[in-house]
Symmetry: C2
Subunit: 320 residues, 2 copies
């Protein structure tokens, strides 16, 4: 079993790099910081290097720790932990270059589509979040959960389950959450930090996004769009639109929800898909070079907003 | 202990009325139906009678059961269970009249302000939902949880904690939720039924509500309003506005969120308050003849929208 090899590697080695995928979400940041807490507790040296910036909503998890965006000078690392990434491309070129210089890669993830790219792989597709896998790693290492560790891992669970809403929410989700609360995670504090520190610009953006609502396939598809000008007009940014697709998902009769977003400095459209169980959007996104989970996936598709919408909606109508 | 007396009363008696407060919310409906499941399991005769209609979002919990709005003819009941009501006025005049004809009242609740109005009272102010108290009653009765019971009680927990978001969310919340999932509650199914069956009219109403956003007290208060015409213009109704106050709560820097709603056929304004921990809105609402919990409360205040806004905002500014 790779799991035991990973435990022994952590016990025997001292210098680690931690990273995760581009476009960071809550589970990404939470799992990395949770693993960093474990390494600190064990007296190991570890550094987190991510290609992309850390979204404001998750910066409260940092405490005194730092997420770097390039390797600090004279940092030693022998092994690299890649968290929450289905494949190595997802971590971004600059970080892939760092990983290739180490002695090996440890792949810790929960994506069904994970390619087992690591020297060692601990992948649990049934886990609702990579934070759950990191929790199990802590248990396997015999590490006692600290309040910091518990808070970080709890944040990963709530963001990747949409606060216990998505189909990945299981008995394990609640059992682990209970244990994290038992060890000091404060549910309302974490939820308040993540969900109740919104800039007013985000509500202004939401008004624009909701006003763009359209339907296809007799209401089985509902879709929303965000043009570049929406951000300027509301003073908001792309991170503030992260979960707005949920409004399309929430409509009665929707089987498939789609959010189209124009991207800054790119000729691609960022397309997000959500399913209410009927459609496997991981497979649908793969038609356009993307991927994700059965219930939540995405792709970045070349073309104008109108071109991509036509192409995606034509394909999507065949799936509902 | 009243708790043991309540257990024995259920064991010894056979005919029960179940009711709850007017303006039903999720925990109200869920707790009543959860208790009905328990009575069915024990072979007892029980009928639910509520003064107000059951919101559409919770009707999936009914299965083959019925919530009546007046007592069916020739229905025998010897004792009345009043759930989730801080005082007897909250159940509405028509149901109070029914309760007074029985042999006694059993008061099952979790409101801090509960007046212990029952012949027997099982009130747990630390419980996140009345569903938790009903769960404990099931345990005390030795009833094995059925999937129907578990689903109903789980729905009460998620609605009264805002999906594990409010300050009432504790270790007990997760331990009980885990046990309910273990006994057949399906978290994503329940969340989908409650939160993802929204009429498009609700999103249209949301656009109007968000557009009404204003602030007071240097951004420590954010408030929203809904006029009667909003409902007509969007084809929506008052039930669809139930949780829209959360958008005001979610803004960074908000200590107190307020939602003002004009009511059909009434010269009162329905005012909802939410606190992020700094203000005790139960006490604030009491200034206007209302009440609730420390973090969520409400009142119905006579006057025009403008008059009530001025009066409430003047008082509220003293509290932040």
């Amino acid at each position: 079993m790779d799991n035991q090899a990973i435990v022994e590697l952590i016990q025997n080695e001292d210098y680690f790099l931690i990273t995760s995928h581009v476009d960071p979400d809550g589970d990404n940041i939470a799992s990395q910081l949770g693993l960093l807490s474990i390494f600190k507790e064990l007296g190991k040296h570890a550094v987190i290097v991510d290609q992309d910036a850390t979204p404001v909503a998750y910066q409260f998890l940092l405490n005194d720790d730092v997420i770097y965006h390039q390797l600090p000078p004279d940092t030693r690392y022998d092994y690299s932990f890649v968290l929450d990434a289905a494949n190595l491309d997802r971590v971004g070129d600059s970080v892939v270059a760092l990983i290739q210089q180490g002695n090996g890669v440890i792949n810790i993830d929960h994506h069904t589509s994970n390619t087992r790219f690591g020297t060692y792989n601990w992948v649990e597709p049934e886990a609702c979040a990579t934070a759950i896998v990191v929790y199990k790693l802590a248990k396997a290492l015999g590490v006692t959960l600290t309040p910091e560790m518990a808070t970080r891992l709890y944040a990963g669970i709530i963001t990747d389950t949409g606060r216990f809403r998505y189909t990945n929410t299981t008995l394990e989700t609640f059992e682990v959450s209970a244990d994290l609360v038992r060890h000091g995670a404060n549910p309302s504090y974490v939820a308040t930090q993540i969900y109740d520190q919104e800039p007013i610009s985000k509500l202004r953006l939401l008004v624009k996004v909701l006003s763009s609502l359209q339907s296809a396939a007799d209401g089985k598809i509902h879709w929303l769009q965000i043009t570049k000008s929406c951000y300027d007009e509301t003073g908001s940014n792309v991170y503030e639109s992260e979960n707005m697709i949920n409004y399309a998902t929430s409509i009665k009769g929707t089987k498939l929800a789609i959010l189209f977003r124009e991207m800054e400095n790119s000729d691609r459209i960022r397309v997000s898909f959500r399913s209410k169980g009927f459609v496997n959007v991981d497979k649908l996104a793969q038609c356009f070079g993307g991927g994700g989970h059965a219930a939540a996936a995405g792709a970045r598709i070349p073309g104008t907003l109108a071109e991509v919408q036509q192409k995606v909606l034509t394909e999507a109508c065949k799936w509902v």
